[in-house]
């Protein structure tokens, strides 16, 4: 009597979705030079490995490295456009990866989860694109005279407001 064995790890589709998002992050770090690209690429590979093995820690670490690649690109003079969308791509990759790990834990590799995972990634990407667009508009038409610190404090205030509204 051989039963069905539940594999509590994400499926191939999950890896593919995270891979697509991650490749955007790599592409976005290309303007930052080979070092940035290499870091981002390494991060994405780690993320994919983490998804396949179903390990949160590995995915978190890999995403951090991938995002580090984008940051390095920014520091070495990449434009606002690649940096913003590189960050979005890194976040989407991380988000879909961790989401698929929880899915793997709860419903297993054998279940058909492609639809819900794609939808999740799509939502996440849409929010990122909207947010990135907003940031970009701010960058273009915003008060360029203001010192950078003021902007940062405004950012912080917005974050606190968002959290407070939800409580």
């Amino acid at each position: 009597m051989t039963g069905y064995e539940l594999v509590r790890r994400p499926s191939r589709q999950s890896v593919a979705i995270a891979g697509v998002a991650g490749s955007f992050a790599v592409a976005a770090s290309v303007p930052g030079g080979p070092t940035a690209t290499a870091i981002a690429l390494a991060g994405v590979v780690v993320v994919l490995a983490g998804v396949w093995r179903g390990r949160h820690r590995i995915v978190d670490g890999g995403s951090l490295v991938a995002f580090g690649g984008v940051v390095v690109a920014a520091l070495s003079g990449a434009g606002a456009m690649p940096v913003v969308f590189g960050s979005v791509a890194a976040v989407v990759a991380w988000d879909s990866a961790t989401n698929s790990i929880t899915l793997g834990e709860q419903v297993g590799r054998g279940a058909d989860t492609g639809r819900v995972e794609a939808l999740h990634a799509l939502f996440s990407a849409a929010v990122g694109v909207l947010g990135g667009g907003l940031a970009f508009v701010l960058f273009r038409v915003g008060p360029t005279r203001q010192p950078v610190t003021t902007l940062f404090v405004l950012l912080l205030a917005a974050a606190v407001l968002v959290v407070a509204l939800n409580r």
């Binding site: 009597m1 069905y4 520091l75 976040v91 989860t113 819900v116 990122g128 990135g132 968002v162």
Partner: protein
């Protein structure tokens, strides 16, 4: 019968819970949605109760437990009775998965400020937007209807049964992330497909998933479903443990009799098949004695009369009916099995009981059933088709006879006292137990000395692959030898042999 096509066409005739499932589930679920609204309007009479299970009332009451009116509550209760739905528990938890992103975005912003890199500051804006995304929404309270269909609600043991579960979103909100985990009864093993799925559901949309289980003897209720709902960002998760209307799988083994069962000579006064030492009419020749007035002519030894003219009467061994009570050992200690998979000793004991019951009934004996278990199992000795059907149903579906061990321990002495009080004076006992502890041997001895001859049918759960197991095995065989020495009959039934073989082996030994 593992053909998946069997299940995918979802014929209503094959025993689903909800006969209405195939005749327009969507229409009915729309009614269900309006019924949910009606619940607050206080018009429970108007609702259509034809379909499945719905959850909105319960889910809503979870969201606002204080707002529920008393009338509402009563209404829900009646609804539960009609539709068989209860939310057994709800857990709402925040997954906190975006906390890291928030921290990271502030770090990035800080770095942007420190190095005067504007793009990094913009990246931090993206982080804040994600934070907003995670915080503005919460996991929706779903309203669902669940329809469960089985390909065969009365399967044979070992047959694969396909279960198809359809979950419909009857609410007016989309569910971005819905994860469903079917609570398959422990005794049934899933052989095909995960009994789980995950999807997103628009209002009115439905998801169907199916899995196969191998049927085992018993009555199983498929009624549990774990529903996990998340919001789009996954920042909040609600887990519902839902009891739906049960779909019952009843798996009754076929009528299956072994060959004749060797019995002790204790019998009832009625004519049967057990040859006794009493002489009288029968088929087996016993002796010849002097003619007494009134002996039947048919039993006169006419050959002798022809030879020397003296009258003599032939005596035969009388054949009588035995009263047998089959006693099953259902104490937790009896739930042992050899190796990782395979049937445990209790399963085998019950199987043996089933076969012995049928063969004893076939040979004209009166048979009853009793058990050492936490539940009271007692079928007084009897005969006839009704009795047979009763026993078959009892053995197949009684919850205490399930293949999983009971939670509580069974006290042997009170159970034994109860059993002895119930046993008819002329009853003999067939005790089905793996005999892995001294308590079982004690029971057998007590019954034997009280004048109920005991035959032990003992499925052997032991193995000899490690030292410890060998020791247990030797202990058990010593125990059995002791019992044999005390005049009990023991049928040691090995794991790899059929009951018939074991009986045959035992019979040869006894007749020799």
């Amino acid at each position: 019968m593992s053909d998946p096509a069997d299940s995918t066409d979802g014929t209503a005739s094959d025993g689903g819970t909800n006969a209405t499932a195939s005749d327009g589930g969507t229409d009915a679920t729309t009614t269900e949605t309006s019924a949910a609204d009606a619940a607050t309007g206080g018009q429970p009479e108007s609702r259509d109760r034809s379909v499945g299970v719905r959850e909105p009332a319960a889910a809503r009451s979870d969201a606002d437990p204080t707002d529920a009116e008393p009338g509402d509550e009563a209404d829900e209760a009646s609804d539960d009775a009609a539709n068989g739905l209860t939310v057994r528990s709800v857990t709402t938890r925040r997954t906190n998965r975006w906390v890291g992103v928030a921290g990271l975005s502030f770090l990035t912003g800080g770095l942007g400020v420190a190095t005067s890199t504007r793009p990094l500051l913009l990246a931090a804006v993206v982080g804040v937007v994600y934070l907003a995304y995670a915080n503005v929404s919460s996991a929706p309270a779903p309203s669902l209807s669940v329809v469960r269909q089985v390909s065969d609600s009365m399967p044979e043991p070992g047959e694969d049964v396909t279960v198809t579960v359809t979950v419909t979103n009857t609410g007016d909100r989309s569910i971005p992330d819905l994860r469903l985990v079917e609570q398959v009864p422990e005794a049934l093993s899933v052989v095909e497909g995960p009994a789980r799925t995950a999807t997103a559901l628009r209002p009115g949309a439905a998801v169907t998933f199916s899995y196969s289980v191998t049927a085992r003897r018993g009555e199983f209720d498929l009624d549990g479903l774990t529903v996990i709902v998340r919001n789009a960002s996954g920042s909040e998760e609600r887990e519902y443990d839902v009891a739906t209307q049960p779909t019952t799988l009843t798996c009754v083994p076929p009528v299956d009799a072994t060959e004749e069962v060797p019995l002790h000579a204790l019998t009832s006064p009625y004519t049967g098949r057990v040859a006794t030492d009493t002489t009288g009419s029968g088929v087996e020749f016993a002796s010849v004695r002097e003619y007494q007035h009134g002996d039947p002519l048919s039993r006169l030894d006419w050959n002798r009369y022809a030879r020397d003219g003296s009258l003599a009467t032939m005596e035969f061994r009388e054949e009588r009916m035995a009263t047998v009570v089959l006693v099953v050992d259902l104490r937790p200690a009896a739930y042992v099995q050899s190796g990782e998979d395979g049937r445990n000793a209790v399963e085998r004991s019950i199987d043996a009981t089933h076969r012995l019951f049928n063969s004893l009934l076939d040979t004209g004996d009166r048979v009853g059933i009793a058990a050492f278990s936490e539940a009271d199992i007692w079928l007084p000795p009897g005969a006839g088709p009704t009795h047979r059907a009763e026993a078959r149903h009892l053995l197949a579906t009684h919850p205490a006879l399930s293949p999983t061990p009971p939670a509580e321990r069974v006290y042997v002495r009170p159970a034994l006292r109860l059993l002895v009080g119930r046993l008819p004076d002329d009853a003999q006992v067939v005790f089905c137990s793996p005999m892995v502890d001294t308590a079982a041997a004690y029971v057998a001895r007590r019954l034997h000395v009280r004048g109920h001859p005991v035959t032990i049918v003992s499925p052997d759960p032991t193995r000899r692959d490690t030292v410890g197991r060998t020791l247990a095995s030797v202990e058990r065989s010593n125990r059995l030898s002791d019992l044999r020495a005390s005049g009990l009959r023991v049928i040691d039934w090995a794991d790899d042999e059929s009951l018939y073989e074991a009986l045959e082996r035992a019979r040869r030994r006894w007749s020799a």
